[in-house]
């Protein structure tokens, strides 16, 4: 009986339900209900059209412009092949400086924002009234516009009237006063600190959501086994919030690269070299009527973000698998 059934099933599938390449009947016929209409595929059309118009077309255009010396307004242009990319790779200190600043900014923001957000989340994960109030307080900067944040911090950092130097002066620590954004060696780190203040609360919320998903029983079992608080964090919390950590780090990375308005607000337009990041550099090239070159910079920028995000995901997975 069993043999008969086993033989029958493949025969039936081969004659009627087996997916066939190129034919109208296939897997879908097996999986869709009897009321399924294929015209439902048209529902994807609006989203697809928007995707093509706002992503595929600009991306294709950027690649095509990147191979030209178009100035953005002339009726003519020359195809320059890969010259723009060669210049970016070998003869553009401004782009190199912006890349270096972007990476410093990214590193500081990813490390400190993730760390602060995680610490705040652990401290405020319980749903007490005080925690909810503090969560709202830490989340508050996120709802402000980046331009407002930049202007507020620009005055916090002002060396003459700013809050930090005034406070240092009031407590007799004049020696620690700084030019902040005016100090070429430090400026990008002060900008990164502003970004951390701006978005740590937002990342805290993601971590809290992750922490609240962890079953209580795991901690109880760990306590029964005599695990310390650190051991509980390392062997229960950290692996269990892996998805939240991956989201936070990927989001923070992309956010860091897109900190355009914050940098323009803090450093002016164009920002001075110490504050110039990739997005402001590309904007500068567009403003300088070098659309072809700016498009090439944009393509390189896209590649850098893609590679870094991919690398980061791999590292996070590996670290958490080992943890």
């Amino acid at each position: 009986m069993a043999m008969t059934t086993a033989e029958q099933i493949p025969r039936e599938r081969s004659s009627a339900d087996r997916p066939r390449r190129g034919g109208p009947r296939g897997r879908s016929r097996r999986t869709r209900g009897p009321g399924f209409s294929r015209s439902l595929y048209l529902f994807a059309l609006p989203a697809l059209v928007l995707y093509v118009i706002f992503f595929a077309v600009p991306t294709a255009q950027a690649v095509q412009y990147a191979l030209t010396d178009w100035d953005g307004f002339s009726a003519t242009y020359d195809n320059v092949g890969l010259d723009n990319f060669k210049t970016i790779a070998t003869g553009d200190d401004l782009f190199r400086n912006a890349t270096s600043n972007s990476l410093k900014f990214l590193l500081v923001v990813v490390v400190f924002q993730t760390l602060f957000a995680l610490v705040l989340a652990i401290l405020l994960a319980r749903n007490s009234r005080g925690s909810v109030l503090l969560r709202a307080l830490y989340f508050f900067p996120t709802i402000l516009s980046s331009v407002s944040v930049a202007f507020v911090w620009k005055f916090v950092y002002d060396p003459n009237f700013g809050l930090i130097n005034q406070t240092l002066d009031a407590v007799g620590l004049e020696g620690l006063q700084s030019a902040f954004l005016g100090d070429s060696a430090q400026a990008i780190y002060w900008a990164a600190a502003t970004q951390v203040w701006f978005h740590a609360g937002q990342m805290m919320v993601i971590f809290i959501a992750g922490l609240q998903q962890i079953p209580r029983e795991l901690y109880e079992a760990a306590e029964v086994d005599g695990a310390s608080r650190w051991a509980q964090f390392r062997h229960v919390t950290w692996p269990m919030i892996a998805p939240a950590t991956a989201i936070v780090m990927a989001y923070t990375t992309i956010q860091s690269f897109k900190a355009f308005d914050l940098i323009i607000g803090l450093g002016g337009n164009p920002p001075k070299p110490a504050l110039d990041i990739l997005s402001t550099r590309i904007y500068g090239s567009f403003a300088n009527s070098e659309f072809g070159y700016a498009a090439a910079e944009s393509v390189v920028f896209m590649i850098i973000i893609a590679v870094l995000t991919w690398l980061q995901r791999r590292v996070v997975r590996k670290v958490q698998a080992e943890g």
Partner: protein, 430 residues
């Protein structure tokens, strides 16, 4: 077979989407730059009426311009005018693209320098050469509105891009006669500093405003008046003696600016000057109205360090003609746009603008009754150079050369700053 649709299945839908997507992407790859240039064509006639956009960067002038626009609308029924205002640096970056498509700027303005030359190349300016409105202007002050032998734009503002001076403070400390040599200037700074006064408020964190000081610093040092054009062309270098000397003089100014000057933004620098903590504000006459808005009540003048000995001085200061008015070739309402430019160019209206905004204008026969304009009026007849920093047509080269000076104020050595600037210039020229 009730679940099959005769005209559409998944494969066909994907094929359709794929083909459409590829087609769109291929269309996107059509060559850029399809804009036909209508630059330099005469202003088209027509009826006065309809909506106009006036694009500019002077947010601080909005109230005065609103009043001027109101008068124009009263005399021209059926017209409405919207001011599209962006901060000057944003305007520098984005105006060309927006004006080109006539998204804004039926009447538009341009900054002298790279923006004006790019807008001329893009064919945005209608030809005003034979329009009667040109006769309202002082001819030598609108030369920078020409392109290809035609009067394309009308520079409207005349500003002095040299430091603002607190006349009362300087008089009080014995400097009724301002020094006309470098040694005399340093001596004045030294004496002011010894009396607890910051000689100069320098907005080092704001590149656009910090860069103004360079006009006066190079005007007598450079071997020719087109020094920055020649740096850009490669004939001069940022490492040449004259520019190195300029940077060394910047280094000598370090003790005479406020502490941490490289981190000071524009508004705090204005505040330091307005509160009489500093004798000079190293920006330009365009800041006079903002300083007054901070409740400053002292007499103001403009004055720049003379970087050479008195007998070697060629120029006493620098001026600039900017806010270049143009009629957009892309607008279909050129007649109304021209009528509005004519209104702005009327001496009485221009006087309202000048006195309301504390800016001199390039229009003949304007009477200045504003306290600061009257104080600065003698500079209209002094020997001043057209501001050199607007000779640059490449923004990155301009930034590199100007930033070298700001970096020196912040502590970088003149030699290092000059070499770094020249490296950028060399890379940009390739």
């Amino acid at each position: 077979m009730s679940n099959t649709h005769p005209g559409m299945n998944r494969r066909r839908a994907l094929q359709l989407f794929g083909v459409a997507g590829l087609g769109t992407v291929a269309a996107a790859c059509a060559g850029p730059g399809s804009t036909a240039s209508g630059g330099g064509s005469k202003v088209e006639g027509g009826d006065i009426g309809g909506e106009l956009s006036f694009a500019h960067w002077r947010a601080e002038d909005k109230a005065v311009l609103d009043k001027i626009i109101k008068d124009f609308l009263a005399a021209n029924k059926g017209v409405s005018i919207r001011q599209d205002i962006s901060p000057s640096t944003d305007y520098q970056a984005t105006a060309l693209q927006r004006v080109k498509d006539a998204a804004i700027g039926d009447v538009f303005t341009a900054l002298r320098g790279p923006q004006f030359s790019d807008m001329v190349k893009a064919g945005l300016f209608a030809d005003l050469t034979n329009e009667s409105v040109v006769d309202n202007y002082i001819p030598e002050l609108i030369a920078d509105g020409k392109g290809g032998g035609k009067q394309l734009g009308l520079p409207y503002q005349l500003v002095f891009l040299i430091p603002l001076a607190n006349r009362d403070l300087l008089d009080k400390h014995g400097f009724s006669e301002l020094p006309l040599s470098w040694d005399g200037f340093l001596d004045m700074c030294d004496k002011l500093k010894s009396k607890g006064i910051t000689p100069m408020a320098f907005p080092g964190a704001d590149a656009g405003n910090a860069g103004q000081l360079i006009n006066g610093m190079v005007m007598n040092n450079a071997p020719s008046d087109d020094m920055f054009t020649k740096i850009e062309s490669g004939e001069y270098k940022a490492t040449d003696d004259w520019y190195l000397k300029t940077l060394e003089q910047y280094a000598q100014l370090r003790p005479y600016v406020q502490p941490n000057a490289a981190g000071t933004a524009h508004e705090p620098a204005q505040q330091i000057f307005a509160s009489e903590q500093a004798a000079l504000l190293t920006t330009g006459s365009y800041d006079a109205a903002s300083v007054r808005a901070l409740d400053a009540d002292f007499a103001m003048d403009v004055f720049t360090p003379i970087t050479v000995a008195k007998n070697e001085m060629k120029y006493e200061g620098c001026h600039n003609t900017t806010f270049i008015l143009g009629v957009n070739t892309a607008t279909d309402n050129q007649a109304t746009a021209l009528a509005f430019v004519e209104h702005l160019s009327d001496p009485e209206v221009a006087g309202t603008y000048a006195n309301g905004t504390a800016q001199h204008v390039t229009i003949d026969g304007v009477e200045y009754d504003d306290r600061d304009l009257k104080a600065i009026e003698p500079w209209l007849s002094k020997n001043t150079l057209l501001a050199p920093r607007y000779q640059f047509t490449d923004l990155d080269i301009a930034a590199a050369v100007e930033n070298a000076a700001i970096e020196v104020i912040g502590g970088t050595s003149p030699e290092q700053a000059a070499e770094e600037a020249q490296r950028i210039v060399d890379q940009r020229r390739k």
